[in-house]
């Protein structure tokens, strides 16, 4: 039972009708059970009738199972699926603006290169880095950049897609 209580991060993918109000209905399922949403991405799909939502939330497992079932019950949700533990392609994009005086530029650029990031803006004393990868990789890069004093960050939120013919 103890294991069940442990808070874990879960990536849930939803295919939903592209209609007003769907996001609120989905958010209410989480909110009613006191579940916090860590990240949420809504985007169009190749079919204009549907939208894709990718939600990362953390909390206890029994509640999460209940949430997935309740999400699937929503008339506007075509399907909701928890991809945690499955082999999926996972990506996130981050823009990170760091204080960057000339004497620290080299070190910051080295870190950027290590994480395969790009410099997308540069001023006298700031640098903006764009980086793409797994959420964990972005977290590691942020740790490395912390000592240079980060001015702001914007992250896209996690995107996932099932491999091969599996549907997301």
């Amino acid at each position: 039972m103890e294991k069940m209580e442990k808070n874990e991060s879960h990536a849930i993918s939803l295919l939903v009708s592209n209609k007003p109000g769907v996001l609120i209905r989905v958010a209410l399922v989480f909110g009613r059970r006191g579940y916090n949403i860590d990240s949420l991405v809504v985007s169009p799909t190749h079919d204009p009738r549907f939208s894709r939502m990718t939600i990362v939330a953390s909390g206890d497992l029994p509640t999460l199972w209940q949430i997935i079932k309740q999400l699937n019950k929503l008339v506007d949700v075509i399907h909701a699926h928890d991809h945690t533990g499955e082999i999926v392609v996972e990506r996130e994009l981050a823009l990170i603006k760091v204080k960057c005086p000339a004497d620290q530029r080299t070190e910051i650029l080295q870190i950027t290169e290590h994480f395969k990031g790009d410099t997308v803006d540069l001023t006298e004393d700031t640098i903006m880095i764009q980086v793409t990868g797994s959420s964990e990789m972005l977290d590691s890069m942020m740790v490395m950049l912390e000592k240079f004093s980060i001015i702001e960050t914007v992250r896209s939120g996690k995107l996932i897609m099932a491999r091969g013919h599996e549907s997301t």
Binding site: P20, G21, I24, L28, Q66, K69
Partner: protein, 574 residues
């Protein structure tokens, strides 16, 4: 080529035509500015509009129709406060899975979100209390949306659906296409259960020595009663029912244990504790029936049949779960039965029935139990009984046995005060030949008593039996048992003279004050068919409902009568 001359219609005309095509006879509601185009379309419509005195009353009447027939009841109200007044009725319907379609007027589309007069974000407010809701933005969507709304409300696990229609959309002229397909790619209704799970359930049942069937509202909704009866009789399995499961299996049957749970029969609860297998058919293991979850039948095999996959493992984690229509699942299960031997178990249960019968003192002050027992004896289960919420409801559930579906109508999950009387009006209008008795408390009755006017105007011959103890009795019971009798906010001083109140509406009033009057007055009231009547029963002020399992306690902690020592405060919800 001659162009087909289709007549242009307004959105409101099309709306009502679609509702009528669905077989609806009555619409309950209250008008207001944003709904006037729809009310205008009602003139000349074959649909009969019933003007209620409050929108909450309208929702409970529609719910009464739903629970008396299995078909969706329909409500029509205006925007803003008219719409928000339906929220209580929506949650009542949602919690108990009853079909209802609520139509709300809305401000014109260009004013949406601009804080227009009587504007409320009604679809937004409705989200947590409906199965689905619509805001109509295009008049051409009306035929599809109405079709979908009734389908959603009545299929699968039923529930309320709300349609919010802006005034300009209702007034727009268009050429309606009624032959339109539904567009519900995310909605699937389970029907036949998984054959592997059904075989597994059959296997468990065939091996069980002390099995028990727990039937809920789903049995009633799916009309699984005959299949359940075949299962119970073939396998000789005792059957207990939830509050809303009354009517799913005849409570007068030798295998019936009546209602279980917080105020259920002692023998039903003892059977739950003692069984080696419990199979729920269309119940959601509500906290009123399982008590402390971790102590609920710890050693019994649990089988769960439900049409809603989200109910699986929500409360009780079953050994075997079957998602499907209760009737289809049980009919399939019935083909795989091997007659087991439950003789000893049945004997044990019959001993419990003898040892712990439902009882009350037949002399002394006037008791609700006596009146309800008498009502039952006089109507022999033929009446449709509606109940509000509280002590009278629990006693009605204990003493008024129900044998057939659609003969018992009450608010279960939501426990909505004010439900009973309007629900009776709806039930009576849907089934004009039925004898409909509303059993209500003096507290709940006063929450929707203005609907007496609706009953009077439409000459709806319901009998409203008001149990007047001048207390909010169930809360008083809790304060008495768990809070040292520190009564707080439960004294209903200022009650009107209910007989005179009825008479002021032109309604016949009766009063019962003594035991000796019970039979005579009830007989007169039951025989009165000229219109509605009110029977005020002035009952004992202080009486408590037993048996009782304190909220959150284990079922084995049930008390059968007034406790000798002080009881601990319940840890369960309410």
């Amino acid at each position: 080529m001659q162009k087909s001359k289709k007549k242009l219609k307004t959105g409101a005309d099309a709306l009502l035509e679609c509702i009528h095509k669905h077989g609806v006879k009555y619409i309950f509601g209250h008008p207001g500015g944003a709904a006037i185009p729809i009310f205008d379309a009602l003139v000349g419509s074959p649909l009969k509009f019933i003007l209620t005195r409050h929108e909450q009353g309208a929702t409970h009447m529609a719910d009464g129709v739903a629970r008396a027939t299995g078909r969706a009841g329909v409500v029509l109200v205006t925007s803003g406060p008219g719409a928000t007044n339906t929220i209580t009725g929506l949650i009542t319907s949602q919690m108990d899975s009853t079909p209802m379609v609520v139509i709300t007027g809305q401000t014109i589309t260009p004013m949406l979100g601009l804080d227009a007069f009587q504007e409320a974000d009604v679809s937004g407010i409705s989200y947590p209390v409906v199965k689905h809701s619509y805001l109509v933005k295009n008049v051409h969507d009306i035929p599809r949306i109405v079709k979908e709304a009734f389908y959603l409300a009545e299929s699968g696990r039923p529930g309320p659906v709300l349609i919010d229609i802006p005034k300009d959309i209702a007034s727009t002229l268009f050429e309606p296409n009624y032959d339109v397909a539904m567009d519900l790619p995310g909605y699937h209704v389970p029907s036949h259960g998984d054959p592997v799970a059904i075989s597994q359930a059959a296997d468990y049942l065939n091996k069980a020595r002390k099995p028990l069937l727990l039937i809920g509202h789903g049995t009633v909704i799916a009309n699984a009663g005959p299949a359940v009866r075949y299962l119970a009789e073939t396998m000789q399995i005792p059957v207990t029912n939830t509050l809303l499961g009354k009517g799913g299996f005849p409570e007068t049957h030798a295998l019936s244990l009546g209602m279980l749970g917080m105020h259920g029969t002692a023998y039903a609860n003892k059977a739950v504790v003692g069984c080696d297998l419990i199979m729920s058919i269309g119940s959601r293991w509500d906290d009123r029936i399982v008590g402390r979850l971790k102590d609920f039948c710890p050693d019994a095999i649990k089988i769960h049949v439900d049409i809603d996959p989200a109910e699986m493992g929500k409360m009780v984690v079953p050994h075997c779960s079957i998602v499907g229509d209760a009737r289809l699942v049980i009919e399939e299960l019935n083909t795989q039965l091997k007659k087991g031997d439950t003789t000893d178990w049945i004997k044990q249960i019959n001993r419990w029935k003898k040892q712990f019968p439902l009882s009350y003192k037949k002399h002394g002050g006037l008791k609700m139990q006596y009146i309800l027992d008498e009502l039952y004896q006089m109507t022999k289960g033929k009446a449709v009984i509606t109940a509000d919420v509280g002590q009278h409801q629990m006693w009605a559930a204990q003493f008024c046995k129900v044998d057939h579906r659609f003969h018992w109508i009450t608010t279960g999950g939501a426990g909505t005060m004010g439900f009973g009387m309007p629900a009776a009006i709806g039930a009576q209008m849907a089934r004009p030949d039925a004898l409909v008795v509303a059993v209500v408390g003096d507290g709940g009755f006063q929450m929707t008593l203005s609907e007496l006017a609706t009953a009077a105007v439409n000459k709806v011959p319901i009998k409203v039996l008001i149990m007047n103890n001048r207390y909010l009795g169930m809360v008083r019971q809790w304060q008495n048992l768990f809070y040292d009798d520190r009564l707080s906010g439960v004294d209903l001083e200022g009650n009107p003279d209910f007989v005179k109140l009825a008479e002021s509406y032109g309604i016949k009033g009766f009063r019962i004050k003594r035991n000796a009057e019970v039979h005579k007055v009830l007989a007169a009231a039951l025989a009165y068919r000229e219109g509605p009547c009110v029977i005020e029963a002035v009952v004992e002020k202080e009486d408590n409902v037993y048996p009782m399992i304190p909220a959150g306690a284990a079922i084995s902690e049930m008390v059968l009568g007034p406790p000798k020592k002080k009881m601990a405060k319940p840890v369960g919800s309410t």
